[in-house]
Every structure is written in structure tokens, then in C-alpha cells.
């Protein structure tokens, strides 16, 4: 799931790949409030995962976002 997220961040949100680690914060990978919404829209459209921008905003790190995605996909 980490690789899937990394792929989306790099290709859809233009995040530079070398900054993306599980420990990186959204701020460190330059994910601003609008990018959070873009990510939420892409997760839903590409993977069918409903993760709201509020939930994504509360995620402290890239690893936390991966955990949210894992949770949602397990429920499907």
C-alpha cells in the first residue's frame, strides 16, 4: 500500500519521490490543504477508498495515511 500511495503522490500530486518516507509528515512532502483534497479525490476515484480530507488532515505521517488506506480497503 505504501508503494501505491507513493505512486499517486509522485504521479498525480507531483511530490518529489525522494522526500517520501513512512516517517515524513505531510508538510515535509509539501502536501498543503488543497493537495489533501486532491489526494482524497484520487484515492476514491482510483482505488475506491473513501478517506475524507478531515481524516487525511489528522494523519501525522505518510505511514498514518497508509494505515488509513489499509483500514478502508480491508473493509471493502
Amino acid at each position: 500500500m505504501f508503494e501505491t500511495l507513493k505512486d499517486i503522490l509522485v504521479n498525480k500530486l507531483k511530490v518529489s519521490p525522494d522526500t517520501i518516507t513512512a516517517e515524513a509528515t505531510p508538510e515535509e512532502i509539501d502536501l498543503d490543504s488543497l493537495a489533501i483534497v486532491e489526494l482524497s479525490l484520487v484515492l476514491e476515484k482510483e482505488l475506491g477508498l473513501a478517506v475524507s480530507e478531515d481524516e487525511l488532515s489528522e494523519a501525522g505521517t505518510v505511514g498514518d495515511i497508509v494505515r488509513l488506506m489499509d483500514e478502508r480497503s480491508a473493509r471493502v
Binding site: S33, L34, E38, V42, K45, E53
Partner: protein, 355 residues
């Protein structure tokens, strides 16, 4: 037995003067921005921001603003004059018998700005009124103009989108001050047939007033003035909840665009060009993603003019027509979203216009 059961093809019962199937056809186009320019470097000098921050987050490099003392009517008159001139050549007719002005920033709270614009364009005596639908204003105004023509109320309608938007922006708010700007764009609609190039398709419009607080100027209207208490300064300025607005913009513009394209009998793949409200380059990227339309089909001038409110779409058409990124015969989708909330979309096959 009701009239609707009369044999088809009979025109009895139609009001006199109303021709069945009468369409509104694009016959002229103009756009104008005030000469005073504000670059990202100018903004960075007085706000905690930078050229690269503004460019990467909004797609804007520079924008135009009104000079002190100038108003929306001054912008509207310039764009309107160019549109009337562009419409005058083809069929020898000129002028218009109605002026519809979409604006968020009228010259004064009362009266409407359109009558003065009409008068200054030599169209005194014509029907003239303002349409208030913020960034979707031009599409609402187009629908109004289309209706005036379809009903036989007018033969030629000058539809203008104009905003001195910077006049409601807090100059110290780096979130909005870098985005909004001033300008005007206009089209002339004439009565014509539904099957000719330039005939407007059905305009799909929508609103959601339960989210009116997402984008607003809280003070200055009856809600605040009835209190008798002077407004807090920040409430006299434009405020926007960026995150929620972004999601709504993408979802609403995508949905209404699908409706307009379906109604034209097209598929999204048939659309040659999209003229979407130039709110933010990233919103348009997300709409393209959602619709599966490649980025290069989106017309764009946001880099040079920013978000000009109601002027955004007609100004974009003017620039795209001038630089030939929009050509005769192109199947064009127009769509907008903004405060209200309000949104809309329509289609047109781009006609052969001068210039």
C-alpha cells in the same frame, strides 16, 4: 381537452412574435483588463509569500488591477465596446436591445451597474440589469440572455462579465490576495437557428445555499446593516474555506459538465476545448482527472490574469480566440463554479468570429 393534445405542427397558441426553435447565437466577443499589473514579485514584497509558492499552488504569475477610483462599469464598457464592434461587421447590424451584466462588485450597492454601462455604450433605453452569481455569473447571464431571445423579449443581447474583484479582497490576506484580480469579457448574442454554429446549447445551472458560508463577504448586506452595529473590518472582505470549496468545485463542475455534454448529444471525448472558470489551475487539473479529459483541451489564461470572477470565462474566450487556441468549428464546453454555491455549464460549436 387541453391544448397539448392539438395536432403537432400547429403553431396556434404560441404568443405572436415568438418563433419556434429560436436560438441565441454567439455573434461577437471582447475582453479587457486594466493596464495596471501586479506580479508575484510585487505581492512577495508586501506579503509573506513567493513567486514559486504562488505559481505552484495557483498557476498564476501576474494579474491586472483597477486604478484607484476606477470601477466595474469602466471595465464592462471597454469589453462591451469590443464585443459590439466584433459583432457589427458580419451582418451589418449593430448594437443590442438588452444588456445583462454579471458582477460581484457593482459600482454601488444600488442601483444595478448595467444601465450605466448600456448608456455609456450608446445603448440607452435598452433593457439592462445585473446578475449576481459570483464566479458562475457569466453562465447565469448567458442563460438570461438566451431566455430573452427565445421569448422574443430581445433580438440582440450584450452579455458582460466584469469584476473589480480586488476591491473586496483583504490586501493583507495572502490566501486570496494572490488569486483574485480584475477584468471584463463580453459576448453579443443574436437571434438565430439552433443548428447554426455559435448557437448556445441548453445552459445547466445549479445552486446549494446550504453551503453559502463557504465563500462570502459576511458584512455590508441587510443581515449586518439591520443590526445597526458597524461591521468588523475583516467581515467587509471576501472569505473562502479553501479545502471544502475545492472538493465542491471539482464535484459540481464535473457533474454539470457531463449533463451539458450529454444534452448536446456529445461524448466527453468529442469535446475539443473546455473553457472552465479560471479559479485555480489545480482545480481544473482535478476536474480533468475526474472527467478523463486531457489537460491540453483545457483553455487557460490564469497565468496572466488570475481569477477575475464573473469576467473569467468571457475573458478566457477572448484570449483563446485571439491566440487561436480556440478555432472555428471547435466543440466547446463552458463550465463554472463559485460562491452561492452556484455552478453551471453549457456547450457551443465555436462560430467564425472576426479578430
Amino acid at each position: 381537452m387541453s391544448n397539448s393534445e392539438a395536432p403537432s405542427g400547429r403553431s396556434a397558441g404560441l404568443p405572436t412574435g415568438r418563433a419556434p426553435g429560436r436560438s441565441a447565437v454567439l455573434a461577437g466577443l471582447g475582453g479587457w483588463v486594466p493596464p495596471r499589473q501586479v506580479t508575484n514579485a510585487d505581492l512577495s514584497a508586501r506579503l509573506d509569500t513567493s513567486d514559486s509558492w504562488i505559481r505552484s499552488r495557483t498557476g498564476i504569475a501576474t494579474r491586472h488591477v483597477v486604478a484607484p477610483g476606477d470601477a466595474t462599469s469602466d471595465l464592462a464598457v471597454e469589453a462591451g465596446r469590443l464585443a459590439l464592434k466584433s459583432a457589427g461587421g458580419a451582418d451589418g447590424e449593430d448594437g443590442a436591445d438588452a444588456v445583462v451584466l454579471a458582477t460581484t462588485t457593482p459600482d454601488r450597492p444600488c442601483p444595478a451597474t448595467a444601465p450605466e454601462v448600456a448608456d455609456r455604450l450608446g445603448l440607452g433605453g435598452s433593457a439592462a440589469f445585473d446578475v449576481s452569481a459570483v464566479c458562475t455569473g457569466f453562465l447565469y447571464a448567458l442563460a438570461a440572455g438566451q431566455g430573452l431571445i427565445a421569448a422574443g423579449t430581445a433580438e440582440r443581447v450584450l452579455v458582460i462579465g466584469a469584476d473589480a474583484f480586488t476591491t473586496i479582497i483583504d490586501p493583507q490576506d495572502r490566501g486570496t490576495a494572490v488569486i483574485f484580480a480584475d477584468g471584463a469579457g463580453a459576448v453579443v448574442l443574436r437571434a438565430g437557428r439552433p443548428d447554426e454554429p455559435g448557437a448556445l446549447g441548453r445552459v445547466f445551472l445549479g445552486s446549494d445555499g446550504s453551503r453559502s458560508q463557504l465563500i462570502q463577504v459576511p458584512a455590508g448586506g441587510s443581515r449586518q446593516r439591520s443590526t445597526g452595529v458597524p461591521a468588523r473590518e475583516r467581515d467587509t472582505y471576501f472569505q473562502m474555506s479553501g479545502q471544502q470549496t475545492f472538493r465542491q468545485a471539482v464535484e459540481r463542475m464535473s457533474a454539470v459538465s457531463r449533463q451539458a455534454v450529454d444534452s448536446a448529444g456529445w461524448k466527453l471525448a468529442d469535446v475539443d476545448r473546455i473553457a472552465a472558470h479560471q479559479a485555480n489551475a489545480r482545480i481544473l487539473g482535478a476536474v480533468g482527472e475526474e472527467l478523463g479529459v486531457p489537460e491540453e483541451r483545457f483553455l487557460s489564461n490564469i497565468e496572466h490574469v488570475g481569477n477575475t470572477g464573473a469576467a473569467s470565462i468571457p475573458l478566457l474566450l477572448h484570449h483563446s480566440h485571439a491566440d487561436r487556441s480556440l478555432g472555428t468549428g471547435d466543440r466547446l464546453l463552458l463550465t463554472a463554479f463559485g460562491a452561492g454555491l452556484a455552478w453551471g455549464a453549457t456547450t457551443v460549436v465555436w462560430p467564425d468570429l472576426p479578430g
